[in-house]
């Protein structure tokens, strides 16, 4: 159909014929109920971000403990077990509970605004993803709080290689928490990604063709695809591990003929696409910041998009580069080595196009721009050490050494985290209507930047000097003491930088300077909104005429004004803006999953007949989930209509049924 048509008008918007009393429609906008029942993608995005940042701090504290332990040779701050728990939880937390949800926060908050939509395709599914993520996070961390020799936080490493994670070698429930936690996080991620895919493909404003999508939205789409296609592999791997642990199957049980190497394959079939899941959103953010602050369109847009897609696709064909030392045979090693190198090409293309974007621009050296440029530099270094890994013979010396630690912290912190922190700065004025002070913003950037490099650059040398990762102690005669000491000092400096960053953010949130709309003179549609954006997002669904839609609007003011007036009139005639009802049922469904998860981990082996209590809890959880889904479906996707006055404020009886 022709895209010049407004999309929102045809949504099914009839109220259900009869609402049984049980199907209460919550209307609170604030307060606990308001947050628990919200289906507004912006609130959900905010919650994602809120939880992610908390977990980032938790993961950061774990990292600082790691670094403190390694500050001196044969140090005694942590015991071996504590240390092992610490790096497992640090890695798992940072990846699954910090970077991924922080990306999801932007997907939720920004992406619908960028495509000119009023919400995601399935608002309640979106809420379900959020609460399931929270349930997963709870289960993952529950072990810290349960005393007893049978419990404890996960300690099998973030990739939990079998058979170490089997009951024989870690009989504690720590691994069960890890398994169930990741399982729920997987459900949450897949549900959210399906939602994003449908949203991006189906909910674009008229005129927003695929090749006009903002790059961040493109990267969201590709990331969502990576998620739905890679998570099933780890889901199955985790199911197999769980079966091994709880029902004594033989998947990874050598005495029954199992091959533990299978776990590695299944994990990395997921694991490698996962690292691109962590970086592509970051690249999307950088691809938004650089053009805005260069006051130029992104250089080579189609190629940047295409290379993003090829990175995603190639990402499925290189997983065994994490297994160069597992004796795959020369042919397989060579094949994966070459395929891995290929990824440098599309990544390089992005790099070059970012530089091309700067070229001839007029660079506004604001804080988001600092983070974006920091990203480009740091990610380049991290990418280069990635290429060094991809040369399999060289990797035989580097694998599981601090060289890998250096590599992936350069791409993860210098890459993902820098871009995400920059993204927060960039969109902060839009989200909250306040702006972070340039001085404090830049100060935090420089402290983070310097601290980061002091921490992780020496780790390259540590790795080349033979220091293996995941070691809670080392001897003084190995030549590692100095670098470790410096790295630890750097980590504290980095911590100070992050601390400044957060304090400044918190201050700005409450007290920061208020700013008007579009303070960066930006290019994409989200900036056409007042800040913070109203719950209905767009008063009139915009019609898109160019790639940088908002930039175009700003330069064709009259034409756009006329068009919008006509559309607004049409919309008012159609009964106003359709808004989905709030709902508690997604939350209930997730709550049920939490109970299922706890049941599947906790009771076993502590209760005498064991299996009954465990299955009982699982069953109760299942019933709760079923109830949630049942009411969710009965409730139907009902909604209400908003009518706006001139200022865009809703007029009175917005909950009137009609």
């Amino acid at each position: 159909m022709d895209l010049a048509q407004s999309t929102h008008l045809t949504k099914e918007d009839h109220a259900p014929a009869a609402q049984p009393k049980l199907l209460w429609t919550p209307t609170a906008k604030t307060g606990l109920i308001g947050w628990l029942t919200t289906v507004d993608h912006k609130k959900i995005g905010f919650l994602y971000g809120f939880f992610a940042l908390i977990f980032f701090l938790v993961g950061g504290v774990e990292a600082l403990l790691i670094r403190t332990q390694l500050m001196f040779p044969n140090n005694n701050v942590l015991t071996a077990q504590q240390y092992n728990t610490m790096f497992t939880m640090h890695g798992t937390t940072m990846i699954f509970l910090a970077v991924m949800p922080l990306s999801a926060a932007f997907f939720n908050f920004i992406m619908p605004l960028q495509i000119g939509a009023r919400d995601v395709a399935f608002p309640r599914l979106n809420a379900f993803s959020l609460w399931t993520f929270v349930a997963g996070a709870i289960i993952l961390n529950i072990g810290w709080f349960i005393p007893g020799p049978n419990h404890g936080a996960p300690d099998g490493g973030w990739f939990g290689y079998a058979p170490l994670t089997s009951k024989t070698y870690i009989p504690k429930h720590s691994i069960d928490y890890w398994v169930m936690g990741l399982q729920l996080l997987g459900v949450a991620s897949i549900a959210a990604s399906l939602n994003f895919i449908v949203t991006i493909i189906n909910m674009r404003a008229p005129g927003m063709t695929m090749m006009r999508l903002p790059v961040f939205t493109w990267m969201t789409l590709i990331t969502a695809f990576l998620l739905i296609l890679s998570f099933p592999a780890i889901t199955i791997a985790l199911v197999e591990l769980m079966m091994d642990r709880n029902f004594s199957t033989n998947f990874f049980e050598v005495s029954g003929g199992g091959m533990p190497i299978l776990w590695q394959h299944l994990f990395w079939v997921f694991g490698h696409p996962e690292v691109y899941i962590l970086i592509l959103p970051a690249m999307g953010i950088v691809s938004e910041i650089l053009p805005t602050f260069s006051r130029k369109p992104l250089y080579g847009y189609p190629i940047v998009v295409f290379s993003g897609a090829s990175i995603g696709f190639l990402g499925f064909a290189v997983w065994s580069h994490h297994m160069f030392t597992t004796g795959m045979g020369a042919v397989a090693t060579a094949a994966f080595s070459l395929l891995t190198m290929c990824i440098a090409v599309p990544t390089g293309v992005k790099m070059f196009n970012w530089i091309g974007t700067l070229w001839n621009g007029r660079l506004m050296m604001r804080t988001p721009m600092m983070f974006a440029l920091g990203f480009v530099w740091m990610f380049m270094i991290g990418g280069f050490s990635g290429v060094m890994h991809s040369a399999a013979p060289a990797d035989a010396q580097q694998q599981d050494s601090y060289f890998v630690i250096a590599h992936f912290h350069y791409v993860l912190i210098g890459g993902s985290i820098f871009a995400l922190l920059g993204g927060i700065h960039y969109w902060f004025p839009l989200m909250f209507g306040r702006k972070v002070s340039e001085f404090w913003g830049k100060l935090s950037f420089w402290v983070i930047f310097i601290g980061f490099n002091i921490t992780f650059f020496p780790m390259h040398f540590l790795g080349l000097n033979g220091m293996p990762r995941r070691t809670f102690t080392y001897d003084a005669n190995m030549g590692w003491s100095t670098a470790n000491y410096i790295a630890t000092l750097g980590a504290f400096l980095l911590g100070i930088g992050i601390f400044i960053y957060f304090v400044v953010m918190a201050y700005t949130f409450f007290k920061g300077e208020k700013v008007g709309k579009d303070i960066w003179d930006a290019r994409t549609l989200e900036w056409s909104l007042p800040n913070p954006p109203p719950e209905y997002n767009f008063r009139v669904i915009p019609t898109v005429h160019a790639r940088d839609a908002w930039w175009y609007e700003k330069h064709h003011k009259e034409e756009i004004a006329k068009e919008q007036a006509a559309l607004a009139k049409a919309e008012a005639e159609h009964g106003g803006i359709h808004m989905p009802n709030q709902s508690i049922w997604p939350f209930v469904a997730s709550l049920g999953l939490l109970v299922v998860g706890v049941g599947a981990t906790y009771f076993e082996s502590d209760w005498s007949p064991g299996i009954h209590a465990k299955l009982g809890t699982v069953l109760v959880g299942g019933v709760i989930t079923f109830i949630g889904i049942y009411f969710w479906s009965i409730e139907g996707n009902a909604g209400y209509h908003l009518h706006l006055d001139e200022n865009g404020n809703p007029i009175e009886d917005k909950h009137a049924k009609h």
Binding site: A17, I190, N195, N202, N250, G256, G257, M259
Partner: protein
Amino acid sequence: MSSHAGTIDHHHDPSTSTGIPNKKLLMWAFLASDCMFFATLISTHLIYRLHPPAGGLDPKVVFSPELTSFSTFILLMSSLMMALAVTAIQKNNLKSCRLSLLSTILFGMVFLGCQVYEFNHFVLEKKMTLSNSLLGTTFYTLTGTHGCHVAIGVLWLCLMYVRSFKTAIPGASWFGKNIVHVLVLLGALLLSLKATLGLVHAVQVDGFSGAALGHFFAAEWLAAIGTVAAVAILIGFARQAGPVDFNEKHAIDVESMGLYWHFVDIVWIVIFTAVYLLEYLK
């Protein structure tokens, strides 16, 4: 919109950018994801079949091709019924749609019954358990996961079926009835499952004969009567008069459920070949 007059175009939804309805797109994306899911499971099974541990069980001794062929056929038929349900509701033929949905549910239950019987049989008679052999481990996990998919599908079908009785009369209460309906349907399902088990067992023991039928009734008369009773109540429900809030516009719901159901069917097509048939090659 609610004010729609005339036919609905079921392959085109003008409210979306691509014209594909959101729910359909969601389902296809989910199925793409589910492909990966089963690919990993089937890979696990095949890898261990290609490198079996010494002294492992021989699947040829364990499997029973007749039963599997039968349940394969059943699943195919359920797919047919599902497809018919979708066309029926697209033509606003509520009655025929409900009938097809019910048959799909029943075929699904028969399939599950066969699978439960099969598992039971393998464990008790063929001494293959989840943990005593690698074959058992991968076989039960793979086919069990597929079975879970079928079970979820059946549950979904049931919900859709009772949903089709939701009244369109404003203010009328239908909710309590709805719950009773769900419960009766679940009861019918469980009873029919039990009956299926008994029937398959009787046939397995006595072959296709009157004796089998006799034994079946002797052992399962309660389940049989219960099933009949439950079905009778269901028919009673189905006679409910008055307009319902379930029509052409809900075709997309039925259709996306159908996509799921058919997918479960094609996964079985692959499993049937890769897991069962290939074992019988000389």
